[in-house]
């Protein structure tokens, strides 16, 4: 089951309220996305920890319903 962009944004926002999120549907198939997420929660933590915060916000959907989401994170 593909996951719509709005759903992904909502999940991330619920966990990371100050996030600015930009998501591209790379192939127009609701299955391959690239997301850029900017949040103060990423300040002073490693890239691995930043990506883990995003993965946690997706509540286990990553690697399951969500097949391909490439992530770029930045602090602010």
């Amino acid at each position: 089951m593909p996951l719509p962009v709005e759903e992904i944004k909502k999940l991330i926002k619920d966990s990371i309220p100050d996030a600015s999120i930009e998501i591209k549907d790379l192939m127009g198939d609701s299955n391959h996305y690239a997301a850029t997420i900017i949040s103060s929660q990423f300040n002073n933590i490693s890239k691995i920890e930043q990506h883990k915060l995003v993965y946690k916000s997706l509540k286990g959907k990553m690697g399951n319903e969500l097949h391909a989401l490439s992530i770029t994170t930045e602090g602010k």
């Binding site: 890239k47 691995i48 990506h51 883990k52 490439s70 992530i71 770029t72």
Partner: protein
């Protein structure tokens, strides 16, 4: 747990260890191919572990690293990241720096 012991021995025995879908010569997923290409470009001698051949390993590595996706790169027992992080580090020159500082290349 059996699978954790196996993972530990893989990352202990191989300085650069890539858990991936497919093999370095025939990656079976675009993300695994991207990391393979980066490592080849940097002339890194690495061990590719095909998780598609072992369902326990495919699930086990996700729990071991607390990371939900494959590929996963380990250098000298340290988890470096998945495809996005490895690509970003490569583009910024940080991956090369890390590999040089760890005396891999």
């Amino acid at each position: 747990m059996e699978i954790n012991k196996k993972i530990e021995s893989l990352i202990n025995d191989n300085e650069v260890c890539l858990f991936m879908k497919g093999t370095p010569d025939a990656p079976q997923c675009g993300f695994s191919m991207a990391v393979t290409n980066v490592l080849k470009h940097l002339n890194v001698n690495f061990k590719g572990i095909n998780v598609l051949e072992d369902e326990d390993l495919r699930q086990g590595i996700k729990e071991f690293s607390d990371w939900p996706t494959i590929p996963q790169l380990y250098v000298k027992k340290e988890f470096i990241g998945g495809c996005d992080i490895v690509k970003e580090m490569f583009e910024k020159g940080e991956l090369k720096e890390l590999l040089v500082s760890k005396k891999i290349i």
